[in-house]
C-alpha cells in the first residue's frame, strides 16, 4: 500500500493539515442536520480525505464497508433509452461516483441515481427517516445541462438525500448549485504544513529525515500533499539513508514534457513539430490529461524563455487551452500552440541573432 493511503487520517480528529475545517465539520454534523456540501480546492489538498473522514463521522465505521459496482443504468431519455455503464462505490449509507465518466450523457446519470437513492432510503435506529449521501467527484467537469438537472434534483430530494460535491475549481460550478451548498474551500497546504506531515510519516516509518530534506520535498511538491508523500516514498526506495543533496525524482511524464520542451527550443521546423506530435501522443495514450500537458509544457517553456516573449507565449497558451476545452481533439490545439510557439521563437531568434 502506498504511504499516501496508509497514513491517510481516518477520522476528523486525526486530521493534521486542515484542523480548523475538520473541527467545524465535526460540529456541523454532530450538532445539526447536514446541508449539501461543496468542497473545492486544488489537487492534493485533502478534500477527499476530509470527505471520507466526514462520512465516517456521520455513519460510523459502516461507511467504510463499501462495494464497487459496475452498473449499467437504463435511462429513459424521451424517445429512447440509453444504456450507461458507470462504476459506483457504495456503502449502506452513501454512494460515490464520477459522473463525468459518463461523458456527455452525464445529466441522465445524476438524475437517475439520485432518484433511485431517494426511493430506497434507509431507516435509522430511531425510526426516523434517515438520509443517504451522494458523493459526486469532479463536478466541475459536469456539463452545463447536468449541473442544471443537479440543481432541480437537489431541491426535490433534499429530504432524503445529501450531496457532497467535490471539485477543483468552483468557478466551473454554476452559481445555482453553489448557492444551494455550503461551500468549503480547502486551500493547498503550506510548505510548513507539508513538512509537518512528512515528518509525521517519517516518524511512523522510523526514518531519519535530515533537516531540510522534508522542506526540499515540500518545495518540489507544488503544495500538493499527495505529491509530497509520494515523493518521499520514491526517495525512500531510491536511496536510504537520505542524503541532503539527494535528487527528488520527478514524475516520468513531467520529465517527458521537459524533453519535449527542450526539443522545441533546440529546433523549430515542421519536422520537429511532427516529432513533438508523436511525443504528445504518447502522453495522451498514457491518459495524461491534455490540459495538464499544455500547462506543464508552458511552464517548462517559460523557464527557458526571454522575458519579452513570455507575455505573448502565455497569451497563445491560454488561447489554445480555451480552444482545446471547446474543441474535440486535444492534439490539434496542443500542436497549434507548439507551432505558434516555434514560429514566435524562431522569429525572435532571427531578430536577435540575425
Amino acid at each position: 500500500m502506498l504511504w499516501v493511503d496508509k497514513y491517510r487520517p481516518k477520522t476528523l480528529d486525526k486530521i493534521i493539515v486542515h484542523e480548523d475545517v475538520a473541527q467545524n465539520l465535526k460540529k456541523l454534523v454532530t450538532e445539526q442536520d447536514c446541508p449539501h456540501l461543496l468542497f473545492y480546492g486544488p489537487s492534493g489538498s485533502g478534500k477527499k480525505t476530509l470527505i471520507m473522514a466526514l462520512l465516517r463521522q456521520m455513519f460510523g465505521p459502516g461507511a467504510e464497508k463499501v462495494k464497487v459496482e459496475n452498473k449499467t443504468w437504463k435511462v429513459d431519455a424521451g424517445t429512447r433509452t440509453i444504456d450507461l455503464e458507470l462504476t459506483t462505490l457504495s456503502s449502506t449509507h452513501h454512494v460515490e461516483l464520477n459522473p463525468s465518466d459518463a461523458g456527455f450523457q452525464d445529466r441522465y446519470i445524476v438524475q437517475e441515481i439520485i432518484k433511485e437513492m431517494a426511493k430506497n432510503r434507509p431507516i435509522d435506529t430511531k425510526g426516523k427517516k434517515g438520509f443517504k449521501v451522494l458523493v459526486l467527484n469532479e463536478v466541475d467537469k459536469l456539463s452545463r445541462e447536468a449541473q442544471h438537472s443537479l440543481r432541480r434534483t437537489m431541491e426535490k430530494y433534499s429530504a432524503s438525500c445529501r450531496l457532497i460535491l467535490c471539485c477543483n475549481s468552483s468557478s466551473k460550478v454554476t452559481e445555482a448549485v453553489r448557492s444551494r451548498c455550503l461551500n468549503v474551500r480547502i486551500n493547498a497546504p503550506t510548505e510548513g504544513q507539508i513538512v509537518k506531515v512528512l515528518e509525521f510519516v517519517g516518524k511512523k516509518e522510523g526514518l531519519q529525515l535530515p533537516s531540510g530534506f522534508a522542506a526540499r520535498i515540500a518545495e518540489k511538491s507544488n503544495r500538493s500533499l499527495r505529491r509530497a508523500i509520494l515523493s518521499l516514498e520514491t526517495c525512500r526506495v531510491q536511496q536510504y539513508p537520505f542524503s541532503n543533496n539527494q535528487a527528488i525524482p520527478p514524475m516520468d511524464w513531467e520529465e517527458y514534457i521537459f524533453e519535449i520542451a527542450s526539443d522545441i527550443m533546440k529546433e523549430q521546423s515542421p519536422k520537429r513539430l511532427f516529432q513533438v506530435r508523436g511525443k504528445v501522443y504518447e502522453l495522451l495514450i498514457n491518459c495524461i490529461p491534455p490540459e495538464i500537458i499544455l500547462k506543464r509544457l508552458l511552464f517548462e517553456l517559460l523557464k527557458k524563455l526571454d522575458a519579452e516573449l513570455k507575455h505573448e507565449v502565455c497569451h497563445w497558451a491560454a488561447y489554445y487551452e480555451h480552444r482545446m476545452r471547446l474543441g474535440q481533439k486535444a492534439i490539434f490545439h496542443i500542436e497549434a500552440f507548439v507551432a505558434k510557439f516555434m514560429s514566435i521563437y524562431k522569429g525572435f531568434l532571427i531578430a536577435t541573432f540575425g
Partner: protein
C-alpha cells in the same frame, strides 16, 4: 490439335471486388495446365459466349437458375447443345438478343475488324503478337498460356480479344461470373432441395466441358485446327472466396505465375471522336464536331459510355448547351482545366460519367498544393488587392469544396488526414506556415466539436457546420502552406490519432476499473490523479498492486513499438493508393 488457353482478364481496377484466395488460384492454374481427366459432371451451367454484357448476364443468370431448378437430364443435354450450337454460329449473334442489339449503337457499331478498334494500335499489336506466337508454336515451348489484360471499364479489352480471335480464326469460350449466391438465397434453395455448387466448381466444370466437347465441331468441319481461347471476365469476382487478397495482389500473383500482362489505357479523346463521327455519318445525325468533342471528353476514355451517351444525345434532339470554344486560351493545362470546369458545371448535360475522386486523390491535391506559376487575375484592376503575405497564386484545381464533394469527403476524417500528413508537405524552413496551418486545423476542430454532444440534434445546422469545418481545414491547409516542400513522393498515412484515441480509450477503461484501488478502496479517485501521480509512482516503485494494473501499464517505449507495427500493417495498402504521378496525372 493445338490447344491454346488464354485467360482474358479484365481486372477492372476501380470496381472489381477484390477477394481472392491465393491457394484457390494455384489450384486453378494447375487445373489448366495439368488437364487431369476427372469425371465429367453433366450438370450444366451455361457455356456462355454472348456478346453484350447486359444480354449475356441476363441470359446467364437465367440459365443458371433454370439449370438449378430443373434436373431432368434431357433438358440439360438439350440446353447444353443449344449453347454449343450458339457457340459455333459465330460469336457475335446469340439468338434472342438480335433484335435489341441493333437498337444499341454500342452493339450496332461494334468493331468488325482490327482496324476498327479504337484501342491504340500498339496495344492491339502486342496482344496479337502474343496470340500469334502461341498459335504458331507448339504447347511445349510456351508454358505460360495466360494473358492478363487490365484496364478500366470500356477501354475495349474484350473487343480486342474478340477481334484478334476472329482474325486468327480461334474460338472463344467466355466464362462469365455467375451471380453469387447470397446466404438467404442459399437457405431458400437448400430448403427447396436444390444443391449448392460452389462457383469454383462451376468454373472447373466449365473448363472440363470445353476441354472435352470444344473439339467436336472442329472435327466435324473437317479437322481444321481451331484454337480455343478462354475468356475469363472479371477474374476477381470469379475467384471470390473468403480470404482477402486485393485485386492488385491477384494481378501480381498471376504475373508471378507466368502470366503476361498487358495494361490498357483509357481510350484517347481523338479515337473516341473518330468513332463517334463515323457513327454520326452512318446514322446521319445532325451533331456538330464540337458536340462530339465534348461528349468524347466527358466520357473519360470509356468508349462504351461515349457511344451510349452519344446515342442518347442524338435521341434527344434538343440543342446542346453553349459549346463555343474559346480558342484564345494559350496553355494546354489551362484549356483543359477550363473545359473540365465547364463539364463539372454542366450537371445539366445529359451525358458524361459522374467523375468521382478517391479520398486519397483529393487529399493529395490539397497537400501538394499545386498552383499556377503566375497570377492571371493580377491585371484585373477592380480586384481586391491583398497584402503580399496574404496573396496566393490561383489554385491548379477546382474549388476545394467541389473537390471535397467529388471525393465524398467528410469533415472529420478529412481534418484528421490533413492534420496527420500536412507537415510532410511544408517546406523544412517554414515553421510559420506550419503554425498557420495548425491554427486553421484547430479552428476546424473547434467547429466540428461545437455541435457534438447536443442530444437534440439539428441536422441541417450540423451539416452547415460540418461543411464549414471541412472548408476551413482544407482552405487553411492550402492557404497556410505558402512554401510547399518540393514535390516528391509522399505516402499518405492513416491518422495515427485514431489509433491513439483507441488506446487512450482502452487505457481509460482500465483505469476506471482501478480507480478504487487508491484511497484503500474506500473512495474513488480522479482519473487524472491516477494517471499523473499514482501510476508513475507505482511504476517507479516497481511494484504492482494487482494484475489489472499491469495491463495498461505499457511502458512508453512499448507503446511506440506497438504503434509502428500497427501502422505498417494497416497502411500498406493505402500507401500504394496514392502516388505522385497519379496526382500529376490529374
Amino acid at each position: 490439335m493445338s490447344l491454346i488457353q488464354c485467360c482474358l482478364v479484365p481486372v477492372d481496377e476501380r470496381f472489381a471486388a477484390t477477394r481472392v484466395m491465393l491457394d484457390e488460384e494455384d489450384e486453378f492454374f494447375s487445373l489448366k495446365s495439368n488437364f487431369s481427366h476427372s469425371k465429367l459432371k453433366t450438370r450444366p451451367s451455361s457455356v456462355p459466349r454472348a456478346e453484350i454484357r447486359k444480354a449475356k448476364k441476363a441470359r446467364l443468370t437465367n440459365s443458371c437458375t433454370r439449370s438449378c431448378k430443373e434436373s431432368s437430364g434431357f433438358d440439360e443435354i438439350k440446353r447444353f447443345c443449344e449453347d454449343f450450337n450458339e457457340g459455333f454460329t459465330g460469336f457475335k449473334i446469340p439468338a434472342g438478343c438480335e433484335r435489341s442489339n441493333k437498337d444499341l449503337w454500342v452493339d450496332k457499331y461494334a468493331p468488325y475488324s482490327l482496324e476498327e478498334l479504337a484501342v491504340h494500335k500498339k496495344k492491339v499489336e502486342e496482344v496479337k503478337v502474343w496470340f500469334e506466337e502461341r498459335l504458331r508454336n507448339t504447347r511445349e515451348e510456351f508454358c505460360n498460356h495466360v494473358l492478363l489484360i487490365s484496364g478500366q471499364a470500356g477501354v475495349g479489352k474484350s473487343a480486342t480479344v474478340r477481334m484478334i480471335a476472329s482474325h486468327l480464326g480461334a474460338t472463344i469460350f467466355e466464362w462469365n461470373m455467375p451471380t453469387p449466391t447470397i446466404w438467404q438465397e442459399h437457405l431458400h434453395n437448400s430448403n427447396s432441395g436444390i444443391r449448392y455448387t460452389s462457383k469454383l466448381d462451376e468454373f472447373e466444370n466449365f473448363v472440363e466441358r470445353i476441354r472435352k466437347y470444344g473439339m467436336i465441331p472442329s472435327t466435324i468441319t473437317g479437322g481444321s485446327q481451331t484454337s480455343i481461347i478462354f475468356l475469363i471476365d472479371d477474374l476477381p469476382l470469379t475467384l471470390q472466396t473468403t480470404t482477402h487478397v486485393p485485386g492488385t495482389e491477384l494481378q501480381l500473383s498471376l504475373q508471378s505465375a507466368g502470366a503476361c500482362k498487358v495494361a490498357f489505357n483509357p481510350i484517347t479523346v481523338n479515337s473516341i471522336k473518330k468513332v463517334l463521327s463515323k457513327i454520326c455519318r452512318e446514322e446521319q445525325c445532325k451533331v456538330t464536331a464540337d458536340q462530339i468533342d465534348l461528349i468524347a471528353k466527358a466520357s473519360g476514355g470509356d468508349i462504351r459510355q461515349a457511344i451510349t451517351s452519344f446515342q442518347y444525345f442524338c435521341l434527344k434532339s434538343r440543342p446542346i448547351l453553349s459549346l463555343s470554344f474559346s480558342n484564345g486560351t494559350p496553355t494546354y493545362s489551362k484549356e483543359r482545366s477550363h473545359e473540365l470546369n465547364r463539364l463539372d458545371d454542366g450537371f445539366s448535360f445529359p451525358f458524361g460519367r459522374d467523375e468521382t475522386l478517391s479520398l486519397f486523390h483529393a487529399l493529395g491535391k490539397f497537400l501538394h498544393n499545386k498552383r499556377e506559376t503566375e497570377n492571371s487575375f493580377a491585371l484585373d484592376k477592380d480586384a481586391f488587392v491583398l497584402k503580399e503575405r496574404f496573396a496566393r497564386l490561383p489554385l491548379k484545381m477546382d474549388a476545394p469544396e467541389k473537390v471535397l464533394c467529388l471525393a465524398h469527403g467528410q469533415a472529420r476524417p478529412i481534418a484528421d488526414f490533413l492534420h496527420e500528413n500536412v507537415l510532410d508537405f511544408v517546406s523544412e524552413e517554414a515553421i510559420d506556415d506550419a503554425s498557420v496551418v495548425a491554427s486553421y486545423l484547430s479552428d476546424a476542430d473547434f467547429l466540428l466539436a461545437s455541435l457534438s454532444g447536443i442530444l437534440t440534434r439539428n441536422y441541417e445546422a450540423e451539416n452547415v457546420v460540418q461543411s464549414a469545418a471541412a472548408s476551413v481545414a482544407v482552405r487553411g491547409v492550402l492557404f497556410g502552406n505558402f512554401h510547399p516542400s518540393p514535390s516528391r513522393w509522399h505516402a499518405i498515412r492513416r491518422p495515427k490519432l485514431w489509433q491513439v484515441e483507441q488506446s487512450l480509450w482502452h487505457n481509460k477503461l482500465e483505469m476506471v476499473n482501478q480507480s478504487c484501488v487508491a484511497y484503500n478502496g474506500v473512495s474513488l479517485s480522479n482519473l487524472s490523479v491516477i494517471a499523473t501521480e499514482n501510476k508513475p509512482v507505482l511504476k517507479w516503485l516497481g511494484f504492482r498492486v494487482s494484475e489489472g494494473l499491469e495491463a495498461p501499464q505499457v511502458l512508453m517505449q512499448g507503446n511506440v513499438v506497438e504503434d509502428k507495427n500497427f501502422d505498417s500493417m494497416s497502411l500498406d495498402k493505402k500507401d500504394n493508393d496514392t502516388s505522385d504521378d497519379e496526382i500529376e496525372d490529374w
